[in-house]
Symmetry: C2
Subunit: 416 residues, 2 copies
C-alpha cells in the first residue's frame, strides 16, 4: 500500500520521533506485575482491589421485609379475608418469628426477616389498625409483595466486585457488608519525582527576575495522590551533571518509578538523557510526535525501575503524566481497563504541525448528553495558568490540520 | 392554569410528601456560610479554595525562550545574514545577558530569559553550528518566534484561579508558582455519621441469620472523604429511644453536620423523627416524592447543626447523600456551582409510581461523545451490590411513566 503524502512527509522530516500510539504501547509493555498488600478498610478508599469481593452469604441473607406493615399469608387475602389479628411484632434485627394461626398477621419492620408462615407484606399506608386488628384497605395485594427475596441480588460465593476495581464509596459498603475489615489492595510503587533546572526556586522563596518557583513536581505529586493514593517523594537537582548523576544513582536504588521533569531536550544543560544512559538506564524512546511534550524520554532498568523523563514545561509535563504515566500506573496496579472518554469540539480548530495535538479543553454537558469540549489552546506549553482553566485534553490526530466543530475525539480528563 | 391530571392525582394522593426540587431548595437554604482556614500546600489537594490565587508577577515573568537554539536580532536575518557568531550562552535560571554586537547571537536554553538586544529565537533543528558560528538553514524565521512573551498568560495581580474552586493538581501547580506555601481553604464541618438498627453488627463480627453488618456509615464516610476530604466520625445506636436520645443530645453539642441512617420511616422502632423533635431539632421536611429514599427527613438546630436523617436501606441512603448531602456540603464550603452532567438512556425504562425515580446506571461514552447511561435498576433500595455495578443515578421526572432510549436526563455520578 503506498504511503499517503502527509504520512510520507512526516516520516521524512521526523523519523527520529515515535508516534503517540507507539509510545503508549512501549510504556504499557514495561508495566510492573501488581503485588498485593493488606490494609484496613478505613485506608482502602481510592486503592485498587487486589482480591475480588465475594458474597459471604446470600444477598439478602433472608427473605427481607422492605416496608413497615404486616406480614400475612396471601391465601387468606385471596380467599377474601381483610381483617387480621396481630399476633406480635417482627422487628429488624430479631430472630425470625412464626405465625401461629394463618388467619392472623405479624407486624413487620423494614429490614426484618419475613416471619414463618407468611409470604406477603402489606404496608401501613394500606392498613387501618385498631384494637390489635389490622384491616387491609386496598384490593391490590400481590403474593410476595414488599419482600426482598433471599439471594436475589447475589448468591453466596458470587463475586460482587471484581479485583482490579478502584475502591470507591460503593465498594467500601460492599466490603463492609461481606466482613472485610482488612482488604487486599495493590501495593503502590515507591515513586520519586525530581525537578531539575537552575531557574527553579522553592515555593517559600521569592524568585529573582530570571527564576521561577518549582511547580511541576507538586502537580505530578498531586496527580498521583488523586488518582492512585500514591505518596511520592520529591527531589530537586540543579543543572550539574555530577550532582544529577550522583543523585539519580541513589534514587534508582530506592524507587521503582522515577519521574523527572526538565533537562530532556536539546539544550546545553539537558544532561538527563546522557546521565540516564551512563547510569545504565535503557532508553526505550526519546521524543514523541506530539505537542505538547515532544521531548518526552522513557526508559528502564529492567526488573527494577522505570524512568519517565518528562519535559520541563508545565503543560508538557502535565500532559505526559495524564496521557502516559497514569495509564502506566493503572496497569501496573492491576486496575481493570478504563473506559475511554470522548469529547466533542465546540469550535473549529486548526493545527498544522505534523504532530498529534493535545488540545486543552473545558468541558460541559449539553442538554442532549453530549460532552462538549471548548478549546482553550492557551499560549503554549509554558502556559500553566491555562491548565487551571481547562478540564482535560482532546487528542487530535496527526493526519489532519483542521478539526471541525461537532467532531468527537478521545478525551483525557484531569478534573471531575 | 389548570393542573395537569397526573400532577393533580399526585397532589391528591401524596400531598404529605414534598418534591425533589422543594427538598433541594430547602436544603440549600440551610447551608453554612463558608469559613476559611490555612493549610500547608501539601495538605490542600481536594479542598475548596477560600482565596483566589493571584499572579504575584507577570506570567511568564519575562520574555521566556521556548526552544533551545540561538537568539538573534531579526533585522539581521531579514537583511540577509545567515551566519551568526556565538557570543555566549544564556542558560535558564541565569541573569539576563545582552548581545554585544547585533550581528552575533547568543545560544539560549528553553526557560531562559531572552537576552537583551535579541528578539527572535531559532531552534537547533534549523541550525548548523561549527567553530563557534551558527548557520541558519531555514528561510522561515518570524520576528519574535519561539518566545513566550512576558505577561501574555496573565498580568501581575490578575486572578488565576477564583476562590471556590476545588483544588486539583493544576491548582496545586498554580499555587506553588505564585508562592503559596500555605493556602486558605474552606474549613470542613465537624461531621458525625450515625447508624441505628438492632439488625446491624460490626464489620469484624459474624452476623447471626437475622443480622447484617453495618455498611451505610462506611459508604457515607467514604463519599465525604472522596468529595470533600471530610474526615467524619462514626457512631452506632441500637433501637432504643433512650439511648438514641442521650447519644444525639451529646452529638449535637459537638458536630455541625449530623447524618443518620435508618429508623426514619413508619416502623415501630423508627424513633428518629420523634427523638429529633424532642431534642429541639426543627423539622424542615419528612418524606420526598422519590424512589429510592422516600422517608428522607431533614431538619436543623438553627445556627448550630443540620441533620440529614437518611433511610436505612443502602441504596436510599447513598442516593440521598449523592443528590442532597453532597450539594449541601458543596455550597456550605463555598464551592463554585457544579456543572450539571447529563446522561442518555440506552434502553427504554418504565416507572409507574408518582415519584421521581433515580435509576442506577452504568456509563460509557459513545464514539460521538454522548454519555450513554445503561439502566441497572437492580432489586430495589436494599440492593447494595447493584451500587457497585453502577456509576451513578439518572433523575427521571415525575410526570411520566415511560422513558425512551435516546432521551437525556440529569445524571448524578458517584464514580469517575
Amino acid at each position: 500500500m503506498p504511503l499517503e503524502p502527509a504520512i510520507f512527509a512526516f516520516i521524512g522530516k521526523t523519523a527520529f520521533m515515535i508516534t503517540v500510539a507507539e509510545a503508549e504501547k512501549i510504556i504499557l509493555e514495561n508495566t510492573f506485575s501488581p503485588a498485593a498488600e493488606e490494609v484496613m478498610l478505613s485506608d482502602a478508599l481510592g486503592r485498587i482491589l487486589a482480591e475480588s469481593l465475594v458474597a459471604d452469604r446470600d444477598f439478602p441473607p433472608f427473605d427481607r421485609v422492605t416496608m413497615d406493615g404486616i406480614a400475612i399469608c396471601h391465601e387468606q387475602f385471596s380467599s377474601g379475608r381483610r381483617q387480621f389479628f396481630i399476633e406480635g411484632v417482627q422487628a429488624a434485627g430479631a430472630p425470625r418469628l412464626s405465625l401461629k394461626n394463618v388467619e392472623n398477621c405479624l407486624e413487620v419492620m423494614t429490614g426484618a426477616m419475613l416471619p414463618g408462615g407468611t409470604d406477603t407484606v402489606v404496608r401501613y399506608e394500606d392498613l387501618q389498625i385498631e384494637n390489635g386488628v389490622a384491616a387491609v384497605l386496598t384490593e391490590i395485594v400481590f403474593l410476595r409483595q414488599n419482600i426482598h427475596h433471599q439471594g436475589i441480588d447475589r448468591k453466596i460465593k458470587d463475586i460482587i466486585v471484581e479485583k482490579g476495581r478502584k475502591i470507591g464509596p460503593a465498594e467500601i459498603a460492599v466490603a463492609a457488608t461481606v466482613g472485610k475489615a482488612k482488604i487486599q489492595v495493590s501495593r503502590l510503587p515507591r515513586t520519586a519525582i525530581i525537578s531539575t533546572g537552575d531557574e527553579l526556586v522553592a515555593v517559600e522563596q521569592t524568585p529573582l527576575l530570571h527564576q521561577i518557583r518549582a511547580s511541576n513536581v507538586f502537580a505530578l505529586q498531586a496527580l498521583l495522590k488523586n488518582e492512585f493514593q500514591i505518596i511520592s517523594q520529591i527531589f530537586h537537582f540543579s543543572d550539574s551533571k555530577e550532582l544529577i548523576t550522583k543523585g539519580l544513582d541513589e534514587i534508582f536504588e530506592a524507587f521503582e518509578v522515577v519521574i523527572l521533569s526538565g533537562a530532556v531536550s536539546e539544550g546545553k544543560f539537558d544532561f538527563v538523557p546522557q546521565v540516564l544512559d551512563a547510569l545504565g538506564v535503557e532508553k526505550c524512546f526519546h521524543k514523541v510526535a506530539q505537542r505538547p511534550g515532544k521531548p518526552f524520554w522513557f526508559g528502564r532498568i529492567p526488573g527494577k525501575t522505570v524512568v519517565f523523563a518528562l519535559p520541563g514545561n508545565p503543560v508538557s509535563a502535565f500532559l505526559c503524566a495524564c496521557r502516559y504515566l497514569s495509564p502506566f500506573l493503572s496497569k501496573s496496579l492491576g486496575e481493570r481497563a478504563r473506559r475511554l472518554e470522548v469529547g466533542v469540539l465546540t469550535e473549529q480548530v486548526s493545527f498544522k504541525p505534523e504532530l498529534i495535538y493535545f488540545l486543552p479543553v473545558r468541558l460541559n454537558w449539553s442538554g442532549g448528553g453530549v460532552v462538549r469540549a471548548q478549546p482553550l489552546p492557551g499560549h503554549g506549553s509554558g502556559d500553566l495558568a491555562n491548565l487551571s482553566d481547562a478540564d482535560g485534553f482532546l487528542e487530535l490526530p496527526l493526519e489532519r490540520d483542521v478539526f471541525q466543530a461537532g467532531e468527537a475525539f478521545p478525551l483525557y480528563r484531569y478534573r471531575c
